[in-house]
């Protein structure tokens, strides 16, 4: 929802019910913390099991090579990573719905600059300990929000036989009287008959005449506080000769937009201009849809991976085809989040499905032999095929083949072109209306780290394996002849040995979704040499399990959750020791329907330990030795109230303490206290105010000489204040925004953000937006970012 849409919603006469939802959305737009790399992060609150999209606005994207999102669920020790898709100065990634569970998802953003192995993070200070949080609301109704009784999805029946009926999984939070229904886009909610959880509608009572052809029904469910809990749309067809006589058709429905942007960033002593144009359009004709997008920018350079974006796609109910830049999704061991320029397609024929992606993963960049002596980047092509038997949303069995290879001839000066082959399988089993869901996937990879000289010749085998007998060398030749059909075979091929299956990864989960309970057991094993060119952020070398359960009690006002996770590394048994990480967590949340605040209290205990021996001073201070325990407690209170408008206030306290039991004794303590309020006033003004006080203390070792350790206590504390306002005037034709966000304390990143924006709507669909942000850096040069965006929607 755009800020304008939010405001429009709030100040409609009937918009009161939606005000809170709008406030929550508004809060997500204004998370501002001074940073050199990221100006803003947006994460709209979601309900559990809904995909969570996180969007980061980048500063100086011209030097950004890639952006990753690190995230974890409440109670997890380790962060998972997703590659973020970068377009212009926006990076975005979507966390799969299966991983989105209450009370929140913790995350931070990693920005990798070109030519640097290190990453900048957002938030910039202690991101792992003080990450950002995305609120995840409880699913107030069970997974199947609505059970359709009639007409069923895609049912064909006579017009006189149409009776619309459905069941809403009702609980105390659902406002049955607010249920909305639209038939072919017509709101006929007032004709809906409610009897407990069962809703019926006779089309003739609503004055509906259902002619032959396809019709759609949309049902929207709301909570008592006005939040939309979900909606469901399905279609059915009316039989008979009417269709032939009437010959009616909705014709083409289309939309398009053009956006022009100029942006100027003065960071330190360097000024970078950006000029971008984006044209997007889509058209729908019945069940068929076409869409396209072109993004042109002056950041496009031969020395970088492509910055222009284009895509053209066409969809029918059974076939989707696309050409251009796409981010295809396959089993996540093999490919998620990577951009491919080429062809993507999905075919669905009943219980058979086929997903295909083919194209260029990396563009060739010639090596520089004059200035930097850097090796170039080979053009890397990729093909992924994923046939599937069964229905994706229920039970299915799938297989995946990924083949990716660097094109040696694409550049003259490069180092170690590579090749990758991954074979995998995935499945899902769903029983008892998805009460029991079992999912799993496994994949094995083979990677050749240098294919410069191609596959072994017979002479190469005789030379490399000269100590082997002739019969063994013959066996190797036979194996080469078979394997070389799929991947280049030489001494750089991984795996060369099958001991401990280092290139095998698998994971599985059992979920029980029983009424008011959600129980999950997960087991995973990722080999330490497993590699897929389609998946750059999977964590290697880990094996273990986790169990979690979440119970809803007292008519869905009280939520209890608990979990346990145990992970180990050293899957190939090649490390000196195996480190075991265990995490236990418990959380109790109360969702208030009265003036009493909603509350959430959580506790996490995490421990990491291995049995690495300590016999010498160097071993004492080796980072290999691990033995630490961390306790973390958080409390959050929130309450809406009214005072010249509607407000939602939140107070939270989080503290963690790590006890390092190794001789290093790197103890750490961190505490944060935050108080904030988001408000929509009776005048067209919205504000966001937040005050956070954060303190960290830890021990740093400067050096170790003989038996003396030079260490010091380090304590940092800083305060962040964020003030943001948005005011609408001239009948919503003008929108003014302002931001003031100073950061006080004893940190190097002390700075103040002063920003403002003005958007003017020439018509409802033509607008201009200008924004100016000043970063006052104290002793350093100030940074200035200015942008102007013209947008036309058709």
């Amino acid at each position: 929802m755009t800020p304008l849409a939010i405001c429009t919603t709030i100040f409609r006469p009937q918009g009161v019910l939606l005000t809170l939802a709008a406030l929550l959305a508004f809060s997500s737009l204004t998370r501002t913390q001074p940073s050199d790399r990221v100006s803003r992060v947006v994460a709209n609150p979601v309900q559990q099991k809904e995909p969570l999209t996180i969007q980061a606005d980048l500063i100086n994207p011209a030097v950004v090579e890639r952006v990753a999102l690190a995230y974890r669920q409440f109670g997890q020790r380790d962060y998972k990573k997703l590659e973020m898709a970068v377009t212009g100065n926006t990076a975005s990634a979507t966390i799969p719905g299966s991983e989105v569970v209450p009370p929140f998802i913790e995350y931070y953003v990693l920005v990798f600059s070109e030519g640097s192995a290190d990453s900048a993070t957002y938030p910039p200070i202690n991101p792992e300990i003080q990450p950002l949080k995305a609120e995840v609301r409880e699913a107030t109704i069970s997974n199947d929000l609505i059970a359709v009784i009639s007409p069923e999805e895609n049912e064909r029946l006579k017009s006189d036989d149409v009776l619309i009926s459905f069941i809403v999984r009702m609980d105390s939070l659902v406002d049955a009287t607010a249920t909305h229904i639209k038939v072919d886009g017509n709101d006929v909610s007032k004709h809906l008959v409610e009897n407990g959880s069962l809703f019926t509608l006779r089309p003739e009572n609503a004055g509906l005449t259902l002619s032959g052809g396809s019709h759609s029904i949309q049902v929207e469910i709301y909570a008592r506080d006005g939040k939309e809990l979900g909606n469901y749309t399905w279609t059915f067809s009316v039989l008979g000769g009417v269709q032939a006589f009437a010959g009616t058709s909705a014709g083409w429905l289309y939309s398009s937009s053009v956006q022009l942007e100029t942006r100027n960033e003065s960071i330190g002593s360097e000024t970078t201009p950006y000029n971008r144009a984006t044209v997007a359009g889509s058209g729908t004709y019945g069940e068929y849809r076409v869409n396209g997008k072109i993004h042109i920018t002056n950041e496009e350079k031969d020395s970088r991976q492509p910055q222009h974006r284009f895509f053209l796609g066409a969809e029918s109910p059974w076939l989707k085809l696309g050409v251009g830049d796409a981010y295809p999704v396959f089993p996540d061991l093999i490919m998620t989040g990577r951009r491919v320029r080429g062809f993507t397609g999905n075919l669905t024929l009943g219980v058979f499905g086929l997903d295909v992606a083919s194209g260029q993963l990396l563009r060739q960049i010639e090596g520089d032999t004059i200035k930097t002596f850097g090796g170039g980047t080979y053009s890397r092509n990729l093909l992924v095929i994923h046939p599937r038997f069964g229905k994706k949303e229920n039970s299915y069995l799938g297989f995946t083949l990924l083949k990716s290879k660097d094109d040696i001839s694409s550049i003259r000066y490069g180092v170690k072109p590579q090749e990758n082959l991954v074979l995998g399988t995935d499945f899902a089993l769903s029983f008892l209306h998805r009460t029991v869901e079992i999912t799993g996937q496994a994949a094995a990879s083979a990677t050749n780290k240098d294919i410069t000289n191609g596959t072994f010749s017979d002479a190469d085998i005789d030379s490399v394996f000269k100590e082997y007998s002739e019969s063994n060398r013959n066996n190797i030749r036979k194996a080469r002849d078979i394997l070389s059909r799929f991947i280049t075979v030489n001494e750089h091929l991984i795996p060369l040995a099958a001991k401990n299956l280092p290139t095998l990864s698998y994971q599985g989960a059992v979920a029980l979704n029983i009424s008011d309970n959600a129980f999950t057991f997960t087991y995973l094993r990722h080999g330490n040499s497993f590699e897929s060119f389609g998946q750059s952020v999977i964590r290697p070398d880990v094996v273990g399990y986790s169990v979690s359960d979440r119970v809803r009690l007292v008519q869905n006002t009280l939520f209890l959750s608990g979990g346990f996770e145990r992970l180990q590394d050293n899957t190939a048994e090649t490390k000196a020791t195996t480190t075991t990480s265990t995490t236990a967590n418990a959380d109790i949340s109360y969702s208030s329907h009265t003036d009493f605040p909603s509350m959430s209290v959580g506790y996490i205990h995490a421990a990491n330990m291995n049995d690495y021996p300590i016999d010498s001073l160097s071993q004492k201070y080796s980072r290999v030795k691990t033995d630490d325990q961390t306790n973390r407690v958080f409390v959050q209170l929130s309450r809406p109230f009214e005072y010249y408008g509607r407000h939602h206030a939140t107070f939270s306290v989080s503290t963690s303490s790590r006890d390092d039991r190794t001789p290093r004794n790197f103890d750490m303590r961190s505490t944060s206290v935050s108080l904030g309020a988001i408000s929509a006033y009776t005048i067209p003004l919205q504000t966001f105010v937040n005050l956070s006080v954060i303190s960290n203390s830890y021990i740093a070792v400067d050096s170790v000489r003989q038996d003396t350790v030079f260490r010091r206590d380090v304590a940092t504390a800083y305060t962040m204040l964020s003030l943001h306002g948005e005011y609408h005037l001239a009948e919503d034709r003008v929108r003014i925004t302002g931001t003031l966000s100073p950061m006080f304390g004893d940190v190097d990143l002390r700075r103040t953000l002063v920003g403002g924006g003005l958007q003017y709507f020439f018509t409802k669909k033509v607008s201009a937006l200008t924004e100016l942000n000043l970063y006052l850096n104290g002793n350093r040069d100030n940074d200035i970012i200015w942008s102007l965006i013209l947008r036309v929607d058709v």
Binding site: D161, T209, G240, G241, S515, G562
Partner: protein
């Protein structure tokens, strides 16, 4: 793993185990919804009896709960749809009582008091669907067919799936598979044999609402007036 970790892990596992048991205990309980079925279609003489009230005309979208009855007159038809999407079609001069039984597994019951019904029963998960008469009980698990009788001797034709047919007099049971017809008599007899093509076609017609030899077309003229065109043909 040291003792404190071991203790913590043990405590956590016990908590999680308790939560899982609570989940299972709380989870498998019947839906307390009162309404069991909806009347989807009435042609034309269909009556209902809600609880112990008098018989009255039934209409589309009427809701039926346990104990409610529906009957059809001569040349009449009624289509009932249960909330699990199972469909029961009452043929002319038939009468059924809707019921439920929460002892053990939650069970929906259609008692046939006379006449015949076609059925298209969705596969039951943690529930059961049962047809009864004074003589017999047919336990259904996702199948189609026709159930007739209700006044002493019952006949069951199965066109899809499998039905367990029990004679309440003799307590005998048999499984009636697709393509078979079962007979249950008030003398305790219970038998089955392959159904004839005519018997199967009739049962399929009763279950699905269509005739294999009949095509129904809805026509509408320029003034919006509708007429049904029925075309009967020979195979």
């Amino acid at each position: 793993m040291n003792s404190s970790q071991h203790s913590m892990m043990k405590t956590t596992l016990i908590i999680v185990l308790c939560l899982a048991i609570a989940a299972i205990a709380l989870g498998f309980r019947p839906n307390p919804t009162v309404t069991l079925a909806l009347i989807m279609k009435v042609i034309p003489d269909v009556s209902k009896r809600i609880g112990s009230s008098d018989w009255s005309a039934a209409g589309k979208s009427d809701q039926l709960a346990a104990g409610d009855q529906v009957k059809t007159g001569k040349s009449a038809l009624a289509v009932l749809k249960f909330l699990d999407k199972s469909i029961v079609r009452l043929r002319e001069q038939s009468q059924v009582t809707i019921g439920s039984d929460a002892a053990g597994k939650f069970t929906k019951v259609v008692q046939l008091n006379g006449g015949a019904v076609g059925f298209d029963i969705k596969k039951q998960t943690n529930e059961q669907f049962r047809f009864t008469s004074p003589t017999s009980v047919a336990s259904i698990r996702g199948t189609k067919g026709k159930w007739s009788g209700g006044q002493g001797n019952d006949t069951l034709v199965v066109t899809e799936g499998l039905v367990n047919l029990k004679n309440d007099v003799s307590k005998k049971e048999i499984d009636v598979p697709a393509g078979y017809i079962g007979f249950s008599g008030q003398d305790g007899s219970l038998s089955s044999r392959p159904a004839t093509p005519q018997e199967l076609a009739d049962a399929d017609n009763a279950a699905t609402g269509g005739s294999p030899n009949e095509l129904n077309l809805e026509m509408r003229d320029s003034n919006g007036n509708k007429k049904d065109l029925k075309i009967k043909f020979k195979q």
